[in-house]
Subunit: 558 residues, 2 copies
């Protein structure tokens, strides 16, 4: 049986005018800001007017630790949204926007796959509605205003050695990671060190995704700490009077984007912060808007549940006063096998023992989700190579954990392949079982918060942090930042900080290399291990293959 590629399926999509999709959610045409015929932003005025409506049920899709085999988290999010609609529910999905830069390296977009995709896929992998470009502009305006302030006399007394605000670009460009700026003489300013991160790593991105409205957006932008004085006093974006102009640049980007699935169900695609140095979830405003307009909202979080779900719960839900009603943990037999030690080239062969071993990883995620007080169900995202014995092994394992697993075939069959999961998720969400609470209270000290996550989620024995780091955390507590949640930046491939330690490791330590204050986003970033914030292009970048073919179709983007 020959399967079509994702892009072939996406090209054949029978899209409806975006106004029809909006109408399904009760959004009048005048309140939709169209971008072409298949994308639209929902007006801020319309969103504000919905504030007294009741909220729908919130369903989080998360996953086991990712492996090169792929687990299909976005595909399952999209499939579940379609599945809920297919069983007669009014459901919407909320996912993140794709970053443009990596599409020209090796990564395709994040719009799902098979028969569970969001369209228009090509637009979503290119400029989409321009949100990331707006974030780039707002970020770099602030960068320019810092250097310009120093150039014209430095009234605020910025210590040029203590500028902590870099620049951003939505491109994989390793040459810009570490640069020296302002060479060439007096007219070009004071030479200094600098560098670029990729746009999704910008604190402006995290802020846009956590702000509840335009006023909150400006407040948060104003709080960004860009530098310190010689006396180590923070200098903020507000001190530089940059917050107003940044807000103006971001106003359109703050309005959530509406598109559709292959089955013409509504999908909000908005925001896309890094899942390591930021919280990795789509925007609060998209999620809240969807909850006002749909009875069920299916959303996802970045990476595996140890990073993505934890941050979804402890950062996004905490700040936005959201509470998930059910969680779906996505697993695949192939990813189980890899977690169980099988190499990628051997994934084709049946290996029940490896599946069994890999299930430990899944088991721990199930237990972790329970600790947030939310009912969970496992979705086994079916691959054609899966054998019955392997699937039975996962089912039996999950059953022994007192949980349940359901096989889903949405990739090959669309909503028809995910009806069982859809029914069960609706039931769980409606049951009122969820007693959501974040993992730690605001009042806990910053270091204790880190320890709590490391011990209760990662199951580490200890957190290693030298005096410099502990002192920094204390200093921020004294400066009034102690109530913030922490945002862990570690490898997504393991519960530990060692990417090769798959499965369910114990007895490990979590070394904290660096801590950073994202005062605007409202969290303290805790960096454990190497975190790359500006990717490079591979030896043969996919850009070399991307082109229009003779039929005018884009080739090579996926």
């Amino acid at each position: 049986m020959a399967y079509k590629t994702d892009i072939e399926i996406a090209r054949e999509a029978k899209k409806k005018p975006i106004q029809e999709i909006g109408a399904r959610l009760g959004i009048p045409e005048t309140e939709l800001l169209p971008f072409g015929h298949d994308k639209a932003k929902v007006s801020a005025e319309f969103i504000a007017a919905q504030k007294d409506r009741p909220d729908g049920k919130l369903i989080l899709v998360t996953a086991i630790n990712p492996t090169p085999a792929g687990e299909g988290k976005t595909t399952t999010t999209v499939g579940l949204g379609d599945g809920l609609n297919a069983i007669g529910k009014n459901a919407a999905i909320c996912i993140r926007e794709a970053s443009l830069g990596p599409c020209f390296g090796m990564k395709g977009g994040a719009a799902g796959g098979g028969l569970a995709q969001v369209v228009p896929m090509e637009d979503m992998n290119l400029h989409f509605t321009g949100d990331f470009h707006a974030i780039t502009s707002a970020h770099n305006l602030l960068s320019a205003m810092i250097d310009n302030h120093i150039y014209w006399g430095n009234e605020l007394g910025i210590d040029q050695r203590r500028i902590v605000w870099r620049r951003v670009m939505d491109m994989n460009d390793r040459a810009l990671r570490e640069i020296v700026t302002s060479l060439g003489g007096v007219a070009n300013g004071f030479p200094g060190q600098g560098g670029f991160d990729i746009t999704v790593a910008s604190e402006v991105m995290a802020i846009l995704c956590l702000a509840t409205d335009i006023r909150d957006l400006q407040e948060r932008l104003g709080r960004i700490i860009v530098a310190y004085t010689r006396e180590r006093e923070p200098v903020s974006a507000r001190d530089l009077k940059a917050d107003g102009a940044m807000t103006v640049l971001l106003a359109q980007a703050m309005q959530p984007n509406l598109v559709q699935t292959l089955e013409n169900n509504p999908a909000f695609v908005h925001g896309g912060p890094f899942a390591n140095i930021a919280h990795g979830c789509n925007s609060v405003i998209a999620t809240k808007t969807a909850l006002k307009l749909a009875d069920y909202v299916v959303t996802e979080a970045g990476f595996g549940a140890d990073l993505g779900a934890e941050k979804f719960m402890d950062i996004k839900c905490r700040m936005a006063d959201l509470a998930p009603d059910a969680v779906v943990i996505v697993a695949t037999v192939r990813a189980m096998k890899m977690n169980g030690g099988v190499k990628k080239e051997d994934l084709g062969a049946e290996n029940v023992a490896a599946v069994h071993k890999g299930c430990e990883n899944l088991g721990r995620h199930i237990a972790n989700i329970r600790s947030f007080g939310v009912p969970a169900v496992v979705a086994i995202n079916h691959f054609v190579t899966d054998t019955e014995a392997e699937i039975d092994e996962v089912m039996a394992y999950v059953d022994r954990q007192g949980s349940e697993a359901i096989v889903c075939r949405h990739w090959a069959e669309g909503s028809a392949g995910i009806a069982d999961l859809s029914r069960r998720v609706a039931q769980l969400a409606d049951s009122g079982m969820a007693q959501f609470a974040p993992l730690y209270p605001d009042e806990m000290s910053l270091f204790h918060k880190i320890e709590t996550i490391a011990k209760r989620i990662y199951r580490a024995d200890e957190v290693l942090a030298d005096k410099r780091i502990r002192d920094q955390l204390h200093a921020w507590e004294n400066a009034g930042y102690g109530h913030l949640p922490v945002c862990m930046a570690k490898t997504q491939y393991s519960f530990s900080t060692d990417p090769n330690l798959r499965g369910a490791p114990t007895g490990h330590s979590v070394p904290v290399r660096e801590v950073r204050l994202s005062a605007g986003a409202g969290f303290v970033v805790v960096i454990c291990g190497e975190i790359m914030t500006m990717p490079g292009l591979p030896r043969v970048p996919s850009a070399e293959q991307i082109r229009f073919n003779d039929a005018g179709q884009i080739e090579g983007l996926f």
Copy 2:
């Protein structure tokens, strides 16, 4: 009498849905790609289908040498478009898009003024339809692919010292003019010199504005020379296999944008190349599309007629096989006075003698335009401070030149104030008088082309260029680039290369400091004097004032 500000007028605009504006030009709704309710792109398919329709008349609006007093070229372009429609003609205007970066420095946008404006003004000064962001992305993808090629082995043998492709950003950021890249060790590449220009200075911008369709776009992008080998052989974007992906990034941006004037007449706003190192005109595709859909198309060129009109004729019209039917030269009494030696603070006082002296500048532009074989009329853009005696002086002067001047009050009165000029321009355009020919033939040597412009347009005695520059021009001729037009980059404030030499200087020399090959755009840039390709922010950037007010309106953008 209290006048409203431009932004106040723009906010009160009674905009029609963009589909209605498109319908006026015969564009069906399905062929308009909407961006909100008041902006749209015209589909490439629709444009291609119009190719056998007859063309309307092409009217160029140009101006005397600009002064700080302002001459109102865009305002007059917009006013004339409204004026032609008001006298019953089917007219469209074509102008350039505004660059985002400078709006946060000190410059407002380029959407006209008073009652002769294009709306939505705020969008046009911010992200608009994302064209400039797409250009930035395409340009920087190519930059990243150059360094990436070297990083992975440098198969093409690029000499890192001879990389001629910089990076771009749509932001005024002097710190990025001259930088050192790839610091930080092996993983970040080979340290080297680099820098950023502002996006409008990108060759990609010039290419987008000269390409006739998407195929021509890719051809031109492929021809961009990014570096040379040690053996001085050029390395192109096609050699790096970057042209396909760049084209994909630019495909949407290639479709011209349709908006409207305050009087609801159609306006194409598309492309915005620098008017010094590039040709300074809106896109060929917008102009050609407008000519297919309207009977009269009013367009403008950058700076004064010595730079803008010359490049419009010798670069844009030559390449795109366009021929203007009439030219309007915009002048103001105030700018005449400044050209006559009056300081800005003294502009309020009547000074007929200074007007008389300043008229020399106008007179030379009139004669120059004649040398292209196109009939010209002078538009005196009326200011409230102008006295009758001053206006009479200009009228009499123009009359002595065998030309005619018409006073226009479109800024204060809209189309009603520009009826006389509109009637006269329509008459000239319909007369068949125009016998357009560019200033020099393709076959002329590059240096001779420079001399021809310097002597016949600038009225210089000689061109100064050392052996290195002459050798470079010969080398390009030998390499097959001798047929290209030249693109002069000099100060816009004078016919000469000295910005302080106002009026109509003679006896001067034109020193050529540098020549650059824009092989993709298809011209040789001739740099005479200091040309700034990355502006800085002023001491108090307008970004500090830009914000939303309590009514949700943007303040400080204009």
